[in-house]
């Protein structure tokens, strides 16, 4: 039995007039790449927020990195990484300053930060641009840097919210290669995306429809079950069942 990083049982979030997440149940193991798909408004963001300790569930239970989401949210925040397409880095700080800032936020010692930073800059071939403002970097580089910073403190799990939106195809693939490497190091990756080919890169995929998990399996398993050649076809078949339209 592999170590479980996410243990989610009947997690429910109810807003005044509708149920955003309805008895969501699943587990994710250490080092797994877990794809979390769903149409706009299916409840992906709601679930992700609860798991990051940003919002309280109405009922159900969940453990993230072994910590309870009701009363150990501070612990959870120390052991997760988060990156979204919208907010990544401070554009008016340099590459180095951004890394130092996040290292500091997670309580790493300056010596430790310095050592890791050298290594990271080399890996990203950003050593020469280390003192440049992030604003001046191409989008693809920003995304890669943002991801590296999200796992800088070696979290148990990293949440990626549409990390590759608008990025060119080569960078997009380089980004996923970084994700692979991360998972090999034992960091669990939990990602949402609108690119269906990216769903194929995941070990397992869950598709949310109207607040419920409608399908969950490996990409191959899903393709067999729903008789589709690609994940795009699978997604179309599954998500079309949605009745809910508005957020």
């Amino acid at each position: 039995m592999p170590e479980l990083v996410l243990e989610i049982d009947k997690l429910t979030k109810q807003f005044e007039d509708f149920v955003a997440a309805d008895a969501v149940t699943f587990t994710v193991s250490k080092g797994e790449i877990f794809g979390f798909l769903g149409a706009n408004g299916a409840g992906k963001t709601t679930v992700m927020r609860m798991l990051c300790g940003l919002s309280m569930p109405t009922s159900g239970s969940a453990k993230v990195a072994g910590f309870d989401i009701y009363n150990q949210t501070e612990e959870i925040k120390k052991h997760i990484g988060y990156m979204s397409q919208k907010f990544c880095l401070y554009e008016d700080l340099t590459v180095k300053e951004n890394i130092t800032l996040y290292g500091g936020i997670y309580g790493l010692s300056s010596a430790h930060i310095k050592e890791k930073m050298e290594k990271l800059l080399k890996e990203l071939s950003l050593t020469e641009d280390a003192n440049k403002l992030v604003r001046g970097l191409p989008l693809g580089w920003k995304q890669k840097l943002a991801f590296s910073i999200a796992i800088f403190h070696e979290p148990k799990i990293v949440f990626l919210d549409e990390p590759t939106g608008g990025v060119d195809p080569i960078t997009r693939r380089q980004f996923w290669e970084m994700i692979y490497e991360t998972s090999r190091k034992g960091i669990t990756v939990f990602a949402t995306t609108h690119y269906m080919d990216e769903a194929e890169y995941c070990n397992r995929v869950a598709i949310m429809v109207d607040g419920k998990i409608e399908a969950m399996d490996s990409p191959d398993g899903l393709k067999k079950t729903y008789n589709g050649k690609t994940m795009d076809e699978v997604f179309y078949v599954v998500a079309r069942k949605a009745k809910r339209q508005a957020d």
């Binding site: 769903g38 149409a39 001046g136 191409p138 989008l139 195809p169 609108h194 508005a246 957020d247």
Partner: protein, 316 residues
């Protein structure tokens, strides 16, 4: 007949005292009644180009015309005849669906009833929510409403700046179905998108990257012109085989494409056997190698590496 003519258009920005090229020396034409796609990642210059054509920005050099009207001199005439849907959601969030639509209709000196036929297909889908505030709609709904508002005055040319960005796969599909129906009404459509798979839905496309056009043609021609032999490869350990294949002698490039790797090779003499043997030597199992033809993304990546624009500083 060309509806949109772009000739040697350039525009640069200054950012932090450094001049950055937005777009440089772009030329192309869009024919009447066609769906023309500007395909490229963020920062490629798609928005800049669309804003120049919709008369919102002035180019540094070059000329352009829409429906025979010059984008600088005849900007008023252009503004009366085009529909424009900017990249971000730009409707009034505190007005209802109906109020937004009526407002834009009167702004263009028309009424919703007058051109109802054109927007009917789309509007019936959001009609059940017509009293809801636009800010409370879902992503797909907002996009449909924005399209209705851009169409309500029956424009001859429609400019859509990344209409499907951040929209889920299903809504994207529906959106393209709507565009196809609009095309049958004779409306010329210029649409930009970062999603390569949408290229196949356009009549002709321009692949752009770093402010330059990599190629302009129909998607079929572009794919047809892909020069190298291409193989789809599957193994048990996909990540390891990806790294290994890059060390293969004949490899030009190797990237993952969903559940397979696309391997393009330098020469035409490398056979399936060669690849199989190489992978077996590296200890791979469950190997499957199939010859395939290129898709738009393969072409884009090839053109991108050839012109080496991937890492140039561009204005995002």
């Amino acid at each position: 007949m060309a509806t949109i003519v772009v000739e040697h258009i350039s525009k640069s920005y200054t950012n932090d005292k450094k001049t950055q090229i937005g777009i440089s020396d772009l030329s192309f034409t869009v024919n009447k009644g066609e769906i023309f796609g500007l395909i490229g990642p963020d920062g490629a210059g798609k928005t800049t180009l669309i804003r120049i054509l919709t008369t919102l920005l002035l180019a540094d050099s070059g000329t352009a015309s829409v429906d025979g009207n010059d984008v600088v001199k005849d900007y008023k005439a252009i503004r009366n005849n085009i529909g424009y849907m900017p990249g971000r959601f730009s409707l009034y969030q505190d007005l209802s669906v109906e109020e937004n639509l009526n407002f834009f209709a009167t702004a263009f000196k028309t009424t919703v009833e007058e051109n109802y036929e054109l927007i009917k297909d789309i509007y019936v889908q959001i009609e059940p929510f017509k009293t809801r505030r636009a800010g409370k709609l879902s992503g797909g709904m907002k996009q449909k409403l924005a399209l209705c508002c851009a169409l309500v005055h029956k424009p001859s040319v429609l400019f859509l700046d990344e209409p499907t960005t951040g929209v889920d796969a299903i809504s994207r599909r529906e959106f393209w179905d709507m565009l196809k129906r609009l095309k049958t009404q004779g409306i010329t459509i210029l649409v930009s998108t970062p999603y390569m798979d949408e290229a196949n839905l356009c009549d002709r496309i321009a692949l752009i990257q770093g402010g330059k056009i990599l190629v302009i043609d129909s998607p079929e021609e572009i794919k047809h012109n892909y020069k190298h032999a291409l193989w789809a490869i599957k193994t048990e350990d996909m990540f390891k085989s990806l790294i290994d294949l890059r060390t293969f002698n004949s490899t030009l490039s190797c990237f993952s494409f969903g559940d397979v790797h696309h391997l393009s090779v330098k020469d035409n003499i490398t056979t399936k056997e060669d690849i199989l043997n190489f992978l077996k030597e590296k200890g791979h199992t469950e190997i499957d190698v199939q010859p395939i033809s290129a898709n738009i993304e393969d072409c884009f990546m090839e053109l991108m590496t050839k012109t080496n624009t991937s890492n140039t500083l561009v204005n995002a």
